[in-house]
């Protein structure tokens, strides 16, 4: 274990180390009956006193996560949360041939998103955690037709590698797609990735090292937090207001330290749904320009715009389209509204920033699957795609109205949330004394799942929020899940 400690954090060192070990146990990285380092080893490797190391173990023991066997050592205890994606059930310490593995240190971060998203839900569970649209709402028929056509038209692409940046014909149709959205891009600015997650990761690996500072709007997508932690970057959380990331706080930070990059989801922000205003976008670009900062713009939800009084409301233009100097690295995902089963995303970048990201892509995996790219050319060339998105927006509009009405009618008014304008998330805020982390256990006992708000904070977590995805369930299951959720939340308020 490489335990990273932030000595400037308001959270005590003891609590940080405890949190890190607890997360490794809860996520299944450390399995039942594995031997933990001795108090002396923990003290040595984490550079803490013996007393603090001892207290960490006492506290983990009190939480029921570990057990100490006199004369043998400290071991991970069986715990009764949901099954994680852990490979095997190991019953006795003596029989395990892999116990020596713990002597091999690793460089993994404390991974917030992973610890929650690797939970393997029993089939009857109603999942409001996974950020996706129920497959019945996706254009599966259009996709099937596109693939059929590609199988006839490009069979050789099954047997050839893709250029590292992507297939030229695919990149061309993607440019046309962007052009229809007001983003004028040429194929040589694009790199195909395995979802936007890989795009973030390539950016972080290429440009961010242990002494670099990235400013992240907060709360923000925990998968991004994990990526930046994996690359050992210094993360500075920046609060958002109704118009998006706060430039005044960025200015304060820039006065103290060199910021290398800013991460933002400006349109239907994850998890809060906030839309960055056009003025704020311009201010952010100007701030980045003045301080020589790169902007990583993550844009997976733009197409999920809801109607307002039967009018399609377009979100403000992307930061990339306002960028004149190649300062914005734009990540486009298609998993949220087209094809989660294909994991294809796009990086848009310029100049040597582009070249360097391409080098990182080539070293990481030598390029994305050629055949998948070919198989999507007919889809992106199909005029029905626009119709599909319009229809999807209409369906999501009525679904969101239903969600709003149900929550307004049933939730205790002390629980706050905002009107949904787009995207797929809803951010619920409880009174400050109620912890959503604690409610998650109750939720699991009632067979529903959501994401506790605490995992969306790269720094000090706020635990009185939760994120639900209201698009992931079928029409039948959504009301059931919301009903259970309302009861749990209301009950937490009436019986704190």
């Amino acid at each position: 274990m490489n335990i990273s400690v932030d000595r400037n954090s308001k959270t005590s060192i003891q609590e940080q180390i405890k949190l890190e070990i607890a997360q490794r146990i809860r996520s299944g990285l450390l399995e039942e009956d594995y031997a933990l380092p001795s108090v002396r080893q923990l003290s040595h490797c984490s550079n803490i006193s013996l007393v603090t190391a001892h207290r960490v173990y006492k506290s983990l023991e009190k939480d029921g996560l570990i057990k100490t066997i006199r004369g043998k050592g400290t071991f991970v205890k069986q715990h009764t949360t949901l099954h994680n994606d852990t490979p095997q059930g190991i019953n006795t310490i003596s029989l395990d041939p892999f116990n020596w593995h713990l002597s091999i240190p690793d460089y993994l971060p404390r991974a917030s998103f992973w610890s929650q998203s690797s939970v393997r839900l029993p089939p009857q569970f109603l999942d409001m955690a996974t950020a996706s649209i129920h497959h019945s709402l996706l254009p599966l028929t259009l996709l099937q037709a596109s693939m059929q056509q590609a199988l006839r038209q490009y069979p050789q692409s099954l047997g050839c590698y893709s250029p590292y940046q992507g297939d030229p014909d695919f990149l061309k149709v993607i440019c046309d797609y962007f052009a229809n959205q007001g983003l004028s891009i040429r194929p040589h600015q694009l790199i195909v990735t395995n979802g936007t997650q890989q795009g973030m990761d390539l950016f972080a690996r290429t440009f961010l090292g242990p002494k670099d500072v990235i400013a992240m709007e907060t709360p923000c997508f925990s998968g991004a937090i994990d990526v930046f932690r994996f690359n050992h970057t210094i993360i500075q959380p920046i609060p958002i207001d109704a118009e998006g990331i706060r430039i005044d706080i960025l200015e304060e930070l820039a006065a103290q330290t060199k910021i290398k990059a800013i991460y933002t989801v400006p349109t239907y922000q994850n998890p809060t749904g906030t839309i960055m205003s056009l003025n704020r976008r311009k201010d952010l670009l100007e701030f980045a320009e003045n301080n020589n900062i790169l902007i990583l713009e993550d844009d997976p939800h733009r197409e999920l715009s809801l109607f307002n009084n039967n009018l399609a409301i377009k979100p403000p233009p992307t930061l990339k389209s306002l960028d004149k100097s190649g300062r914005v690295i734009y990540l486009k995902g298609f998993s949220k509204f087209l094809f989660p089963g294909l994991r294809l995303g796009i990086i848009v970048a310029d100049g040597t920033i582009y070249n360097r990201l391409l080098a990182a892509k080539s070293i990481s995996d030598l390029g994305s699957p050629l055949w998948l790219q070919k198989s999507l050319i007919p889809l992106f060339s199909n005029p029905q795609l626009v119709t599909f998105i319009k229809n999807l927006n209409q369906k999501l509009t009525s679904r969101s109205s239903f969600v709003m009405k149900m929550l307004t009618d049933n939730l205790d008014p002390q629980i706050k949330f905002k009107k949904i304008y787009g995207g797929m998330h809803l951010w619920l805020t409880l009174p400050p004394e109620i912890s959503a982390d604690n409610l998650l256990t109750i939720a699991h006992s009632r067979s529903i799942h959501f994401l506790p708000g605490s995992i969306f904070y790269p720094g000090e977590p706020e635990s009185n929020h939760l994120r639900i995805c209201w698009t992931n369930l079928s029409d039948d299951n959504l009301p059931k899940a919301l009903d259970i959720l309302c009861r749990i939340l209301n009950n937490a308020i009436s019986n704190p």
Copy 2:
């Protein structure tokens, strides 16, 4: 630019820095007319004297890679090698809005494989560099049928995410495939990756940091060198002999330093084609066991076994099948003999090593495409797959005989090579005074491409080797390419 310098290397610091900048220019990372750091900046950021920095630039100028404009600075010069995968032609310094990009440092390594493999060949070129089998020899019809069936059977998988480790049904058929090869594996030991390149990368990111030592058989796959360099690991080259990686040299190294991992391609080694003997495999495992070292076994070529006197010769068992303690992390690729256009590979690992690699996979890209995995279930369940591989081996056997005969008959006997038993590479050794790097320019002028041997060395390069892939060209083009190659090599010997 972050220029990494190895102060223990036999290559001078000046030469190392020159090589790194030259590679960035040749690979297109630094484009024509980009402004390089001043001599003073270079001296400061690389921690070298002003005199050395000045000499680096003089030497690059002599090689025609850079130019100095009095009063303006030092710039990348137009160079006349092949077009690389660089995005745009930038004509004048003053017009380029992205020149400021060079002020953004990155963490990229000196990437040997990338610098060669990102070369974009003109269409008429005969490519003996790319390691693949010509698509006419691949099972495209079986693949098409498999995908057709999957489109009917699993349409929902287009609209759902894959579990991070992979689809359970796909992992099951992969286990059956391994079982037929004598490797007894259960689904909970598998992670689906984007080719074996990602498998290597996940291993390196999880377990290897700047102070860790990885021992690599040398010469070895340059894509692996790039991965370990990207993770800032200390690479120790270990020579191979006729039986594989030399344990005596590993023992010497272990006496001096802690080795954390060993990288090997034991079967039809890349680039030399060497088969590690069964005894050597056992010795390697014992050595790793005694010294608590992880072994990364890369196995992309096992299925490409040639016939010998009409007998199918099976290579020795995998290290993984001989591994009792979860010490071997096994990487299986399918691009070399089944479907390069799909980029799916597999990691096999155990215990917490597995769990930690899975965490890294989830943070890197949230899993591989579900639909691709589903689309291969019919293929791997199809009994015709075995027949295909047998037929492929027969075709490759006659092709390799042709290659052997042609080279034996036509090459100057001072040029050495070994009989091909499997895989897709041939390693040619020239007299020590002849550099294959220099011959590459001549080859390009004659429209053929190969890989110079120097890129296969993580430490001091030997430049009198070259690697050709004899499976990548069509039946028509192979003799033409070999003929041109023989003339170039023979000419280099007769007119040194």
